[in-house]
């Protein structure tokens, strides 16, 4: 085991290999507040990558309803249960990561989903956290709540799948940090499936190898965002490149959201993988639940989001989400306009912070008729 630095838990930790960060790290921000669980992302991925034999059950991208939804079944609860309650002290995690808590004989603390665990992708869908009593009101946070969690592979800085593979069949691309299973070298041991706490590696029984989200790397290589991003109806996603905290550049949209404003947070940072999909937490959910899922930064993130009407930079940047298929490595706000630019400063997209409003009167004087809203 080597000692590596994981900024998400504020300390060094043990990892199977020495620290080796890529030249650029593929990363993304998902704004949970906008997700409507339409599953268009899921279908975009499914039809693009996993329509083959043996891939029938695979969802490299899925959207589950929290608190009760999970795919595969109880992916999060099972691991939290074996990791047990752990402590944070401020922004420093005091507990054990999945690497540090690995039992004797194992590389990673993990578990194997049974095939039946993949049989209920919609479990808990739209189920509220509890019964809504008479007299409920919509104060913040909501007294009863649920929210949608869209998930893909986190293309972690310290991938547990990579650490768990005894053959070195999984690699992290030095050029963009995308984590891939070498389909030529994999022998289907399923150690990666066991090791990944997010359960985003899947065994294909027809090829006998394990397969996973590839971050649509053929698109990324052309500067285009992945399928699940560009097909997102709710425009909740933004893909890009994330710097190390000490090298964060405010003009980089991901750096701004993750490092500068700290409004986008990692999923279960305590697992220790430094995952690179970041979530803007849902503002209507009690933060004691969210703290376990997104770490100690939740309260501040929720506070900032609730104040977004008075925060033109943040509101402006969120308007860039889903506005272009191109990866936007730089951005700036000019008054009510938000501009997305290439690395060299070329304009890729210009978005108004507010769409112009046209009010259509109830009476149409031209035809002398009253308009109705019925189709």
């Amino acid at each position: 085991m080597a000692r590596v630095y994981n900024w998400q838990i504020g300390r060094e930790m043990s990892y199977w290999y020495p620290e080796s960060r890529p030249e650029k790290q593929f990363a993304a921000v998902f704004d949970i507040n906008k997700c409507i669980a339409c599953q268009t992302c899921t279908l975009a991925c499914k039809t693009t990558w996993t329509s083959g034999r043996g891939q029938e059950y695979m969802l490299w991208n899925n959207v589950e309803t929290k608190p009760y939804g999970s795919y595969p079944l109880a992916w999060d609860l099972n691991l939290l249960d074996s990791l047990q309650g752990q402590e944070w002290q401020g922004n420093v995690y005091q507990g054990q990561t999945v690497f540090e808590a690995a039992p004797e004989g194992e590389r990673v603390l993990g578990w194997r989903p049974d095939e039946h665990d993949y049989s209920y992708p919609n479990v808990g869908e739209d189920d509220c956290a509890g019964q809504i009593e008479k007299g409920a009101s919509l104060d913040l946070p909501h007294m009863m709540w649920f929210y949608y969690l869209a998930r893909i592979c986190n293309h972690c800085t310290y991938p547990a799948c990579l650490a768990a593979c005894p053959r070195g069949s999984i690699y992290k691309r030095p050029e963009d940090g995308i984590v891939l299973v070498d389909q030529d070298r994999c022998r289907g041991y399923q150690e990666c499936v066991r090791g990944c706490p997010y359960k985003k590696v899947f065994f294909n029984p027809m090829t006998g190898t394990s397969e996973k989200c590839i971050a649509c790397f053929p698109k990324i290589e052309q500067g285009i965002q992945p399928q699940c991003f560009v097909n997102c109806i709710g425009k909740i996603r933004l893909a890009g490149w994330l710097s190390k905290p000490e090298e964060a550049k405010p003009e980089n949209p991901l750096d701004y959201l993750v490092h500068v404003r700290k409004i986008a947070l990692p999923l279960f940072p305590q697992f220790g993988l430094e995952p690179n999909i970041y979530y803007i937490p849902p503002v209507h959910v009690p933060t004691h639940f969210l703290r376990q899922m997104f770490g100690p930064g939740v309260d501040e993130a929720v506070k900032q989001y609730r104040n977004i009407a008075q925060d033109p930079d943040l509101a402006g940047l969120l308007a860039l989400f889903g506005s272009t298929e191109f990866i936007v490595p730089r951005w700036k706000r000019q008054g009510d306009l938000v501009i997305g630019m290439s690395e060299k400063g070329t304009e890729l997209i210009k978005v108004p912070m507010r769409e112009p409003i046209h009010i259509r009167g109830a009476y149409d004087p031209k035809y002398n008729i009253a308009r109705v809203n019925c189709p």
């Binding site: 996993t50 891939q55 059950y57 994999c186």
Partner: protein
């Protein structure tokens, strides 16, 4: 008293010295040898039930859990594998038999496959490679048999319905109408959704042998043999365990009355054994007998 003691020591010495090979002899089963003895036969049997096997002595290889490299096997399962070996001077067939309550030959998530392997050093040398899959600069040759490959060889079709009979599939893109009359285009399209197959990584699907020829230079280095020699295998499950024949080329430089080493591994799928999680032996002495030596009761 002293004389009785000396007599006892003499008797023990005689038993031990004469019994280098002969350890015991169960009634009707032939002798059990302390090393793997390859007997000569012009016909090499691929069928585990071939009567030729009756003439071969057997070795009982003790298995221990692989507990040197992570992931380790923490709980022992198959404790022993019974070995017999026959050669025609060019190829050699090993029969491995072990007890296994449940047949596991269906791949799937968290499902693992029964299997076994035979390992020999790539060359005979005084300095034997590490028994745990060799070491850098000292490679080993491994012939690996798996129960799902046997099922495919026995006729299991290349369809998800073979694994999940109740599976309902809406549509595969490669089964689209426009491709129906163009098998080449259809096959190309199918490969796009099966990258391992497209790369020739034949873990599942149609194959022409139930075994795989491999080389290794230490744990984690397992690779396809650069010059495969057409190894074959055949496994039968009898409700209580497996009987598997692995037939491969005779190890390099192995000839009558030369000695080498051999090692074995068994995976019990029902115990979630796969890859490094296996029961394995250490090196076992390997001795090849010349044609006609069997009749001299040389073992």
């Amino acid at each position: 008293m002293l004389r009785a003691k000396s007599l006892l020591i003499l008797m023990l010495t005689l038993i031990l010295s004469s019994g280098v090979l002969i350890l015991s002899c169960r009634s009707g089963e032939g002798p059990i040898t302390a090393e793997v003895v390859i007997i000569h036969s012009t016909n090499l049997p691929l069928d585990p039930n071939d009567p030729i096997w009756n003439a071969a002595p057997k070795h009982l290889a003790k298995l221990i859990p692989q507990d040197l490299v992570e992931p380790r096997l923490m709980k022992a399962s198959t404790s022993e594998v019974q070995i017999k070996a026959v050669s025609n001077g060019t190829n050699v067939a090993f029969r491995l038999e072990w007890l296994d309550d449940v047949k596991n030959d269906l791949p799937g998530p968290a499902k693992f496959i029964d299997g076994c392997a035979v390992q020999v050093p790539s060359k005979i040398a005084a300095n034997v490679p590490d028994p745990q899959m060799g070491q850098a600069g000292q490679s080993v040759e491994i012939t690996f048999w798996r129960a799902d490959w046997q099922a495919i060889m026995n006729g299991r079709k290349d369809s998800i319905k073979e694994l999940y009979p109740n599976a309902a599939i809406d549509h595969y893109p490669f089964e689209a109408k426009p491709l129906e009359k163009d098998p080449v285009a259809q096959s190309e399209m199918q490969k796009r959704y099966a990258p391992a197959r497209a790369l020739g990584n034949n873990r599942e699907g149609p194959r022409d042998s139930a075994v795989e020829e491999l080389i290794a230079e230490g744990p984690g280095s397992l690779s396809p043999a650069p010059n495969p020699t057409g190894a074959k295998g055949k496994g039968l499950y009898n409700g209580k365990g497996w009987s598997v024949v692995i037939l491969r080329s005779l190890p390099k430089d192995l000839s009558p009355n030369t000695r080498s080493q051999i090692a074995f591994a068994v995976w019990e799928g029902g115990h979630k054994e796969v890859g490094a999680r296996k029961m394995r032996s250490g090196w076992v002495p390997l001795l090849m007998k010349a044609e006609g030596e069997l009749s001299k009761n040389a073992y």
